[in-house]
Amino acid sequence: MLRSWLGVHPWRLALGLIALATLGSVFLGRAWVSRTLTISTATPDVLESPTPLGMLMPVVAAAGIAVGCTGPRVRLPEPTRVRVGRLAWVAALTATACVALLVTRAAPGAVVRGVLILTALALIPVVLRLPMVAWVPPVVYLMASVYFGGQSGGRWAWWAQAFNPDAEPQDVIVAAGIWAAVAGAYALRPPVARF
């Protein structure tokens, strides 16, 4: 059964993107911790934003998870166990990405929160059956957060928390709630892909 599930889901592309994000995290790992390599270095003074470049990697991982959740291009039967299977599948991919990005052991709370929120955003186009633009919500959200979410003295606006390098346990719980809502929608609605 697992073989036929894997056969209709592009898991190789998903794992490829998650691996790419992991490589990026390892490469940027030291800068992530020391926060020396930030987006500020590339933006003019007034828009200074203290986002470490390592915080961009959950965006790539989230796009990977969404790609892996792309369904077959034809409508298949939808018994309950298929819906449960879809929920388990997105949970497994998300868990894989979290574990992979935690390999650097840097900012674990922020990584998990980032992956959860960004995955929820990337899944929205998949639920809407437009999986090839799954990258758009995380990328646009990243850009908006970097420029307009984190400027007042190192603090982050409530809506831009996915890129804050500091995280409290309750932030992760909120992020898990957001993830669960979108993942639930994904489980209930068959994601027939239109290319």
Binding site: A42, L47, A63, A144
Partner: protein
Amino acid sequence: MNAVHRYALRTLYGPWFALPTLGLDIALAFTKGMPYLGEDKFTVKWMAASMWILATVAAAGAATDAARLSKPGSIHLSQLANHRRSVYLWSAAWTAIPIVLAHSLVIGVALLAGGVYSPRNGWPAVVIAVVAQGVVVCWFAALGSAIGRHLPVLIAGIAAALPTGILLLSLPSFYPSVLHFEVFGDIGAGGSQLGTGWDTVVLCFQIILLISTAAALVLPRPRQVRGRLALSARGVMVSAAALALLACCAIAISADDDTLVVVAPDRCDQGSPEVCHFHEHSRLISEVTAYVSELDAAAREQGYSALEFERYSERTYTSTSMAGGGVIEFDPLDPDGLDRWMFVQGLLAPVWCTDDEMIPDEYFGQMDRLTLTWIRLADPSFQPGNPEINPVPLTPDEVSRVLSDFKRCELGSA
């Protein structure tokens, strides 16, 4: 809108990416109290802060459409004899041009909203600078098309966005130590651009360089092998040569699109004292004039003759400072409104002294007391933000001694 437009909007994703970038551009235009309003060059450079956003979205959008044209079932479109080159160019242009038009529109509206009808640098320079920004977006759309056409549709977008974002965010760190020519143009500016102009020759060179290398990325003729697009040796060589040329230019050529221009404040309010400023900053000046009159009146009433100045002038933004000899300078561009402490300190700072001298610690204590003295003349209840400042005001004699020391650049001599 004709049939071609409708067809493109229906079949391509590219044109729709102009909507999120337009939103981000408008948000950028409204941030931080819009200090750029009224200045031509500052407006164009302020909006350049969104270049990495536009370029990343253009690359990813063009990659998505190029990948859709290359997938089984559509690849024959790129293989029709008379379409081979143009179909990828067509789809990349449909991503880049709407983004460029939206960005140019925001810049145009921002210029008009600031009342820039006859720009200081002239309309041709402004237009060339905006075109230079647009060409950068087109270049990254070409790069995205070159990457995306060889990738599966699902990952083409993020696979093009990642290198573009990382490249544009990390390149400025290498300038000017390794790179001497910003081939991808400005990354924005946070302060007034008066005193600088554009070097249009450099901008035109940049435009030509980017257009020619973008053509080398987007135009190589694709080849089909067993239903898939194959890399052709010639195409890879042409693209690699284009990227190498760009890298060589960035490293070997030393060029800056900024030139220094001598400017002077051109509007004066004939009051007592006289306050002069640049016409670009007229909207900011009433608050300054009111506070300056208050300071001046307080100094005259309480006998601080050293603090009576003939003329207050906006700083000239160049090395040709006019300060000294009865003229003192101010900077009206504060995003949070007039900060009295910073403003008065700016008025009294001896900007004519060269920076390379060692500034003794005593200077800062003197400066703080001097600033506090003048602010308290106008507002006796003023409390400085830093509680360590000596709260005893200076006498008129002490003030004139400190100011004459400043005039001779003997900073911190007790």
